[in-house]
């Protein structure tokens, strides 16, 4: 009898725990997007838009770029047009004998981001390389 009560209590606690976890998962949503842009000697400016809704309370943006040749500027703007970060990378040597690579990486974690369209502006100048932009938006 005592054992069956103990077993019953254990099962009850276990199910309650699972239910609580499920509720927490249901209330917390996150959206992640990955984009990769390849440049093949391009000098065409590109704007990548990140749409941040009202419910979003955390935003994480990670930008990774590698340049084999050319000059690349990466800038992050909030919907009000304020610059939230930037970097530039340049590689000058890209011959058959000698090659170099330059990497730039930017991580931005923003609490309660301004809702609207955030922009990652890519300004390349004869760039051979690539940029990957990973964004994750969380709403609790």
């Amino acid at each position: 009898m005592k054992k069956s009560i103990q077993l019953f209590l254990c099962l009850f606690l276990f199910s309650a725990l699972i239910q609580a976890q499920q509720r927490q998962l249901d209330s917390c949503n996150s959206t992640s997007t990955n984009r990769t842009i390849q440049f093949d000697g391009s000098s065409e400016q590109q704007a990548i838009i990140i749409d941040v809704s009202k419910d979003t309370n955390k935003m994480h943006v990670s930008i990774n770029s590698t340049v084999k040749s050319g000059y690349l500027t990466v800038e992050l703007y909030d919907p009000k047009g304020n610059k939230k970060g930037n970097f530039s990378i340049e590689s000058q040597v890209n011959t058959s004998e000698k090659k170099e690579q330059v990497c730039g990486q930017m991580q931005k974690h923003i609490e309660d981001p301004v809702n609207g369209k955030w922009t990652v502006l890519l300004v390349p100048n004869k760039v051979i390389g690539d940029v990957s932009i990973c964004t994750s938006l969380h709403n609790e």
Binding site: G85, N86, F87, S88, I89, E90, S91, Q92, V93, E100, Q101, V102, C103, G104, Q105, M106, Q107, K108, H109, I110, E111, D112
Partner: protein, 349 residues
Amino acid sequence: MNKTKIYINRIHIKSYKLLLFILFVNSLNCFSQSKSKNEQSKSINGKLQLDSIWEPVVYLSHIPTFKDMYKMSNEIIIAEAKVDSLGEFHFSTESLPKADHLYRLHISKKTSPAASLIIGGKEENHIFLIANKNSNISISNRTKDSLFYNYIINGYQPNVDFKTIHGIISNDNTGAVKSNLKKEFINKTIYEELRHIADTSSHPIVSLYALTNSKFESTYLENQKFYKNYLEKWKSENSSYFNELRSKFPKEESTNSNLWIIVSAIFFFLLGYIINYVIGSRRKKANKQLKLLSIQERKIYNLLVEGKSNKEISEEFNIGVSTVKSHVSSIYNKLNIKSRKDIVSVNNM
């Protein structure tokens, strides 16, 4: 007896000489040691605890303007130093310029090229420092997990101040604040504090870094006097950092340039007046001369202006060519001209 005395004296002199020689060698040794110690102290050195993901090489880059703080290329790397098994590295500052400049130290991951820049997060791979030829700076980090997340910099006070300002700027100070109004208020307070640091700091790069990040452009019109005084305070600073700032301020119109504007305005006014007067007087003269002509002569004059021949004029007025000729010669006399070409010039007056 005397010989022994002389012998003893000689020994004394020799021992003195030996003592002097030893003293000389010793002092030379001391001098060279202190010199080498001094040379050793002029360096950027440090002790870093590195995780296995990092290549044990520290790179030093020169940052010519604040705009280039987050620029990366192989060209701006000016030196590299190996991190030894104890985590120690050392750059001599002998080759650096005498004046203070901004530099960046960075470490790259083993999987990345030397010219790699990571901004933000615990993997941020760089720090900024101010140094000159005589600087002695030491850097260390606290844990293996974060490279420069919580580093310590000692040896040159401007770096401590620069680090504090950089921390204020880089951190999201309003992250935990929900209200937009509160966020705005906090940001405004931070910008004001940065302007205060800029005003009170005695180091030009530190002061300028604070001002550059205080969004001074938005308050320029409200605080013109402050910025004017600021530029006046650092007018002797001719570094690229200050030239960058000066280019952001609207160029002040000096009293000299104002004077030039006034003088040139008066000159052009007078020039216009004179031209107008000359043209006017010539017109008046021409009108006066035309008034001397009779009605018939004026009619013929108009046809002469149109370029018509004597015959055409005679046909127009049904008069003889000889009459036309006499009218024409009378017109020539009254207008004081000699040919038909002159008629056109009289008309253009």
